[in-house]
């Protein structure tokens, strides 16, 4: 249990680890893992080229069905990476590989590697529970627990054995999710009493509360109206100062508006099965203005069948 043993709850991590690691780049796996929850504010902007999640030669199968083939995709720190592409091309599948949510699907099988700060998430001794505390997830449909607003945000820290001031953490998380002012007077009310957009921001606050350093978002705005969508996009731009974000979206303008880098996936029609492949990965500006691949251009200009 070398790795899993070091995947301790973030709150117990000594913050001075950060300095140790930065001064010596060649540290052991364990030390690297221990640093990831150091406050991102202490990370210098020049660090943004650092790869947080390195997906290499990823192949995913659902039973006999080859859902995703040979995807290699580096996710960089403090950037927003957008995954776009037609329905069924495996965007959610790739995303769910980044926090081992695919473990929950009986028939899913993953090959290749997803390295999180150098540690392969699919190593024998990695505990998926620890992974998910560091790589948070926001789902397509807002899914608050049938509990109070406060309890929703406090859920992750509580099960993670958080020992600090929970009230402060809840306030901080809600503030970061741009929801605090709207809910500060009704923290004990049911989360179901909030609007859809507020619920989604609550889910973001809930994910932030476990202090992850990566946030995975699977079409977080698809159930929301344009105003709520706009607020979440604004929020994402704020959040990337502190977190690295991967977002799946069907909304091309959204990808263009918020993301730094864009990965375009499609269904490979040359294969016998409807297997998803990564066509092109580049700076968002490049993908949307002068893509290398014809297929990318067809898709973003709406000529895709």
């Amino acid at each position: 249990m070398t790795n899993a043993g070091d995947l301790r709850p973030p709150s117990t991590l000594p913050l001075d680890r950060q300095a140790t690691v930065q001064s010596s780049p060649k540290v052991s796996t364990a030390d690297t893992l221990a640093t990831v929850n150091a406050p991102a504010s202490s990370i210098s902007p020049s660090n943004t080229d650092e790869v947080v999640l390195d997906i290499t030669d990823l192949n995913v199968y659902y039973g006999d069905f080859h859902a995703v083939a040979d995807v290699s995709l580096p996710i960089r720190r403090n950037q927003i990476t957008a995954l776009i592409g037609p329905s069924g091309c495996g965007k959610s599948t790739v995303l769910r590989c980044c926090n081992r949510m695919n473990d929950l699907i009986e028939i899913a099988r993953v090959e290749g590697s997803v390295k999180y700060h150098g540690v392969d998430l699919y190593d024998q001794d990695v505990d998926p529970v620890e992974v998910r505390r560091r790589v948070g997830m926001v789902f397509q449909k807002p899914n608050p627990f049938p509990k109070s607003i406060y309890e929703n945000v406090a859920f992750g820290p509580k099960i993670g054995g958080f020992s600090g001031n929970l009230d402060d953490l809840v306030q901080e998380s809600l503030t970061k999710a741009a929801l605090w002012d709207e809910v500060k007077n009704k923290l004990s009310e049911s989360a179901f009493a909030l609007s859809g957009g507020q619920q989604q921001r609550l889910c973001i606050a809930r994910a932030i509360a476990t202090s992850p350093d990566v946030l995975l978002m699977d079409e977080p705005c698809s159930a929301l109206d344009p105003v709520a969508t706009f607020r979440i996009e604004e929020l994402m731009r704020d959040l990337k100062e502190e977190y690295s974000i991967v977002i799946v979206t069907h909304n091309m303008q959204q990808a263009a508006r918020v993301s730094d880098r864009t990965a375009f996936f499609t269904v490979d029609t040359d294969r016998s099965q409807r297997t998803g492949v990564l066509v092109e990965f580049d700076d968002t500006g490049t993908i949307f203005t002068k893509p290398t691949e014809q297929r990318t251009e067809d898709y973003i200009t709406g000529r895709f069948g």
Partner: protein, 305 residues
């Protein structure tokens, strides 16, 4: 210029058929209401006769011996309370455990195999369970653990009744657990909750109304259960008021059954025959209250999502 009048009144034949179908369904609904009303009326009539004519001092006595004019209503009432509570002690842990295992832990293939078995168990006639309790549970379990227990005891009957209602509790609460949306489980897992934490802190609380309803349903089934107690409870002709489960005892239902199956001419013996209706009426009120309460729980469970 000719105008054709359009008829929107439809096909008269279809209208007639529609009316007939509606009446058939109305009739079947009406019959069930009539039957219920008839039951209540028949109970109330004789029960009133009993309560008016009975010597009030015989209502509280050493025991329930209807053929000797001793109508201690507390005896069958106490027996019912003892037996159904003990049965719940057996059935709730077993039933809930099975439900949680099936809905949250079992692989789909295991569930497909176990669920039908559970449903078959629910259909076992109570006389079979009664026989099993008498010939196996009582000598091999109850008498072996408690030296003082006879072959007939309320405890043996309670375990039998417990086994009888376990599948009911398991199946209804499993439905309640499965009705909790997957999105809530994913939310919990995504925050780094272990499976057991997800069950305890999210799924179980979300399904609590349905689970309570399953327990109340089980309880009213236990209260209404006759055969097991009749066969294993001892005290067939009547019994001393008894709270010790190792002793023989009688419940409301078993008391009714033993008078109704008596070989002597029960109608001639003073108020013996009427006393059964008094018991029946009490039982009716008892289960009516329970069913109303459980109905409320079920409805609240449905409204939740």
């Amino acid at each position: 210029m000719t105008t054709t009048t359009i008829s929107l009144s439809g096909n008269p034949k279809r209208h007639r058929r529609e009316r007939v179908v509606k009446r058939i369904f109305w009739a079947s609904a009406a019959v069930s209401v009539l039957i219920s009303a008839a039951i209540v009326m028949s109970l109330i009539g004789r029960a009133t006769t009993f309560f008016v004519e009975v010597d009030k001092s015989s209502l509280v006595d050493i025991g329930w011996f209807p053929r000797r004019g001793l109508y201690d209503l507390l005896t069958p009432l106490a027996g019912t309370v003892v037996v159904s509570l003990l049965a719940m002690f057996v059935a709730v842990p077993l039933g809930l455990g099975a439900a949680i295992y099936l809905s949250e832990f079992a692989r789909p293939r295991v569930r497909r195999f176990l669920k039908p078995i559970l449903e078959v168990l629910a259909g076992i006639p109570s006389v079979v369970i009664g026989f099993f309790a008498l010939t196996w549970l009582s000598p091999n379990l109850v008498q072996r653990v408690f030296d003082s227990a006879g072959i007939f005891s309320m405890l043996a009957a309670s375990i039998g009744v417990g086994i009888l209602i376990t599948p009911l509790i398991a199946s209804v609460s499993e439905d309640a657990l499965r009705a909790v949306p997957t999105s809530l489980r994913e939310a919990a897992f995504g925050l780094g909750a272990k499976r057991s934490e997800t069950v305890r802190k999210v799924v179980f609380p979300a399904a609590i109304s349905g689970i309570v309803a399953s327990m109340i349903l089980g309880l009213s089934r236990a209260i209404g259960e006759t055969m097991v107690m009749f066969m294993v409870g001892g005290a067939v002709g009547g019994g001393i008021r008894e709270l010790n489960p190792l002793r023989p005892g009688t419940t409301m239902t078993a008391a009714i059954a033993s008078v109704a199956t008596g070989s002597d001419q029960v109608v001639g013996e003073g108020l013996t025959f009427e006393s059964v209706f008094a018991l029946g009426f009490l039982l009716f009120v008892f289960t009516l209250v329970l069913n109303t309460v459980s109905d409320r729980f079920v409805r609240r469970a449905r409204e939740r999502y």
